[in-house]
Symmetry: C2
């Protein structure tokens, strides 16, 4: 049934970890698929059970070191988690908490004694754990966590304490029900001095599931979605933590309380520690996009067979996908989903490369963090918008749980604010661009050293991220005068995206420098006055690297028809992105009014050209039918048959 | 605690039916407020119980005729339903199904014998009923419903039948559990001819709750939200319906099967019948906006006390509302909510006037339907976007059910597609503008008579809707050259909104006429090629009448400070609306690039000016604290106290 073009598209989309994707598709059957309409308790019970049933050889634990049962393949584990998102987002998040955050922190922040003691049980899910970082009062600014862990040289133990209500650990996955240990982030205090946030491995429940002494566990209660994840709250009342439970890869405390670290600066150490956890953001962005592809598959297929309003002069009702307004909703989102699939693939590849370097490369590490942050932000917002649109595109059917879209929407909703609030993340991207990924970038605070940053900003050379020589060739081929170039010219798209980023960045630098001169007494205002501008810089940057990834991705397609189709999809992505920024482009002389109108006209032409390929474009996502699990798709053949019968009847006798 | 300005703002917002709003606020206490985290069964049981407990003297049944226990006040009933939306959206929808749709249809389409027999029991909720119009296969195009009701002169009864699966009634409120009767819409066939869709009152359950013979009842199952509403499915297998159960105000069938009606044309009759049900759309738009005001109240108040990241040089963290990016999210949405509150008030007043006319005025009726459709569409989309944004603005807390936002989001989500799919509704608005609300407008088909419509379109005189003389004065005072006028000039806003609508409308007419000439053989394409343009016409129209309503609303404020504040809020609404359409305005020479940039700069200045008034602006919505029912608001004093303590501590000793 899948034709050559569809197969070829799937091959390009599946990318380097195609084997992981295929394994997950083949191995995870209906028993793993989300169940609509469960109560919270039912969902938690099911997901807790399934996480132990998950076949670990399909990649879900492949980021762990080989010696403990993993395969040292962080890219593969990200892709496996991404695939899980199409099966059940609660299961994906539960797996992310257990193996990504909890297990990942033990690997990255702990040392051999922690690995030897715990990793096997973590991998087998015999030891379920939490990643206890966020507090009620501090989520984005985790450098300012209020929980303290104070070393007492007399007893040789740490004392972990929650000083007030707002310092309780909140929203913590696995905390309400299943977690037996937690990696707890707190301010490390020894010898009367704080060395900033560090992490400890702390038992929170005994073998009977009862809270450990001094530990108070609460339930975050019902949530918008992700019912299968037991998010909860943890408070500590002077809890004794043995010295060797400090995850001490980046900072050590000797028996006498002396603190040592290979990174002297507290802030820099903290962000180095955080940096090792970048995989979480890479995974969340990927998962959001995977869920979006499921939603688009459902909505596009529904629009193929759902008809409404009779065509004048015809005896047949019109399929939703034939309406221009419907195409305007679905196709640009579909094109953007292709674009992000390529950008995400490139991000995973980069992550794998950076992680496999023999010597850490700080510049590349920062760049990776920045792109992970940016792509997480844009992909999760794309998911929120697109799944909502898909639900509306299915009308009342889209509101029923049996059609999957409400679950996809509710479950992915939290992605825009977890693993970093999107707005804060985009700010991080912008800061990286402003400072060339240098030291200041590491700080998440955004304002703390505004003056410093304002002084440090420099004109960045834009760094091309993918298919550098091809892109350079395309850009160079664009004639000087825009009006002579077709609006579908790829070189023109690339040059325009690049120019927009550069101009926005230059402008931000100018305004920040001016602010630093004139607002020395109001340092907060230096950044805040240009916050919207700074966020645009980040958006423009992500737009550009996404387009470059798309262009590079097309090159990887070996089937000519698939390449051609991808080219049109890329045109649509480029033109609808340009449409979004039309006003800015005209304001800054990058687009004439006439050419701006042409962009919209050509985009509409593209919709018509892509209309016949809508089904192919979603089929290429290759979401298994039993994962889609939507009643409207199960009823597809019946709907087609009924319509055909009605058509026959209408042809036989004119309507009453 | 509520200061003079807040009280004055509330007074203007409460409008003509302030007494209804106050009564609902005072009479509906915590026992009516939505309960987060219920199972579907619990929610249905609670809401079924509460609908009978609702005090009917607060306006919820005031649309019914005085002689049966109502007060002939459709405006008041819409406002009461709107208030219910802040209490519990399931309860509001359940009430809407029972009294608005079911009861409303019996009133509007039935005659005295139906009223005498059923209205008292409908009002008391002793007789629960359904509004069985939508079918699985036909929701927007209800003129093409497939259910048939065929008169059999021999028996003197109708036979009601569902010919195939896609013709089952679907998504029907009260069908799964509580409904004992249904107003069923079906094609009336008598004497071998169809007279189009009519409605019958049909028993669907007996007194024991069992389905009546030939009636199959199903459950639509779990939904994204509105768990308290028992949506279901109904199929009929040759069900006998006595002749007198036809709701026969607009069409009668004599014992011998002869059909009579005062409206000869089937289509026109059907849309006249539909037109009597306009109150549903008026109510849904109002309810969406009311829920949005609750969400904004929660998010703005959270942003006042939630702080994150330390201000450089200060020992205090920064409140979220102090960030430009946060203001950019919340304030334009808040301004738009004010705008829609005024537009909705005017719509309700218009509805009350049209309904109270001694002689029906078809032109005004059509205009009312158009504005109800348009304001329903824009308000429900505004709700979906804004509640989502509010949830994100509250971070992780916004994802917890205890903070109310997930419920507001999930419950209002369906509003964009029920009581008319928003895209179809905007098309209806555009068609009304194109044809001057003449006959063709009534048809929902959108395409069926494309050629006819294309020929009929004429240059419309824009009709001002509110405060006509004031608006004319403001517009006339604008000098000829835009660049000489401040971008905050109200006359300029009004003129620009009006000009945009007129230009878009003229352009659509031109393109349709051209299409009618050149595409005679492809009538579907005539409309479809310009569908996006047509939808813009509708959007521009609603933008204009909303701005005019806002301007008129400011005039009603008696407190000078309140007027001044409303003026700034209106500036922000106008400028951010202009920002949205900047590209179009530049493309069409309505805005120079320089002035376009000035619009954004001045909008940002307005954000700073309005920042200190954010709390006042949401307090003026006067949502009772126990209705808000959000944990983050209950924790507000504790949060303030804890932060104050930390501030003191920080001041006393420098941070570790």
């Amino acid at each position: 049934m899948r034709d050559r073009v569809t197969v070829a598209l799937t091959e390009v989309l599946d990318g380097r970890w195609a084997h992981v994707r295929r394994a997950v598709r083949e191995r995870l059957g209906a028993e793993f698929v989300t169940v609509p309409g469960e109560t919270g308790d039912q969902a938690r019970e099911r997901v807790s059970r399934l996480i132990r049933d998950l076949p670990t050889d399909v990649g879900v634990v492949s980021a762990f070191p080989v010696e403990y049962g993993g395969s040292d393949d962080p890219g593969g584990s990200t892709v496996a988690a991404e695939m899980l998102a199409q099966v059940d987002l609660s299961l994906m998040v539960k797996a992310g908490v257990q193996w990504g955050l909890f297990g990942g922190a033990v690997v990255a922040l702990g040392t051999k004694r922690h690995h030897d003691a715990y990793l096997r049980d973590i991998i087998s899910a015999d030891l379920m754990g939490c990643f206890a970082m966020t507090e009620t009062g501090h989520g984005s600014d985790v450098q300012q966590l209020r929980t303290t862990c104070t070393y007492d040289a007399a007893s040789g133990n740490f004392v972990l304490h929650t000083p007030h209500e707002a310092a309780r650990k909140d929203y913590i996955g696995n905390a309400a029900r299943d977690g037996r240990m937690a990696v707890v982030f707190a301010q490390l205090i020894t010898g009367g001095r704080s060395y900033g946030v560090h992490a400890w491995l702390v038992p929170i429940r005994d073998e009977h599931g009862k809270p450990m002494p001094g530990v108070t566990l609460g339930d975050a209660g019902p949530k918008a979605g992700l019912l299968g994840v037991d998010n909860g709250r943890i408070s500590f009342d002077h809890v004794t933590v043995p010295r060797d439970m400090l995850l001490d890869r980046y900072g050590q405390v000797a028996a006498d309380g002396a603190y040592t670290s290979s990174i002297e600066n507290d802030t820099r150490r903290f962000f180095t520690m955080l940096g090792t956890l970048v995989r979480g953001r890479v995974t969340v962005g990927a998962a959001a996009s995977a869920a979006t592809r499921s939603a688009l598959t459902i909505a596009v297929r529904y629009g193929e067979t759902r008809r409404q309003f009779t065509s004048p002069g015809a005896d047949r009702e019109i399929a939703l996908n034939d309406y221009l307004a419907h195409q305007r909703k679905l196709l640009p989102a579909l094109a953007r989903s292709y674009a992000y699939a390529f950008a995400q693939e490139e991000l995973a590849v980069t992550m794998a490369e950076v992680f496999s370097l023999a010597e850490p490369d700080e510049h590349r590490q920062r760049e990776l963090e920045s792109r992970a942050a940016g792509l997480k932000a844009v992909q999760t917002w794309h998911a929120t918008r697109t799944i909502q649109m898909c639900r509306e595109a299915c009308g009342g059917a889209g509101y029923l749980a049996e059609n999957r879209l409400p679950g996809l929407k509710a479950d992915t909703d939290v992605f825009t604010t977890f693993e970093g609030d999107n707005t804060v993340l985009l700010q991080l991207v912008a800061k990286g661009l402003l400072t060339g990924y240098r030291d200041a970038f590491g700080s998440l605070d955004g304002w703390g050293r505004a003056t410093f940053v304002a002084e440090q900003v420099r004109e960045m050379m834009l760094e091309r991220t993918a298919a550098r020589s091809l892109i350079q060739r395309l850009v160079s081929a664009v004639p000087g005068r825009d009006e002579e170039v077709a609006v579908t010219d790829r070189g023109w798209h690339l040059a325009l995206f690049e120019d927009r980023e550069k101009h926005l960045l230059d402008g931000a630098i100018r305004r920040l420098r001016k602010g630093a001169d004139t607002k020395k007494d109001r340092p907060f205002d230096i950044f805040n006055d240009v916050q919207d501008h700074i966020l645009s810089v980040a958006g423009a940057h992500i737009d550009r690297i996404t387009l470059e990834a798309f262009v590079a991705g097309i090159e990887r397609a070996t089937d000519e028809s698939a390449r051609e189709l991808l080219g049109k999809v890329c045109d649509l992505y480029a033109l609808t992105t340009i449409e979004e920024h039309k006003a800015w482009l005209m304001e800054h002389g990058r687009l004439t009014p006439a050419r701006s109108r042409a962009v919209t006209a050509v985009a509409n032409d593209l919709l018509r050209e892509l209309r016949p390929h809508m089904r192919t474009l979603v089929d290429a996502f290759a979401v298994p039918e039993e994962w889609l699990n939507a009643a409207v798709l199960r009823e597809e053949p019946a709907r087609q048959e009924a319509m055909a019968k009605e058509d026959d009847a209408l042809r036989a006798e004119p309507p009453l």
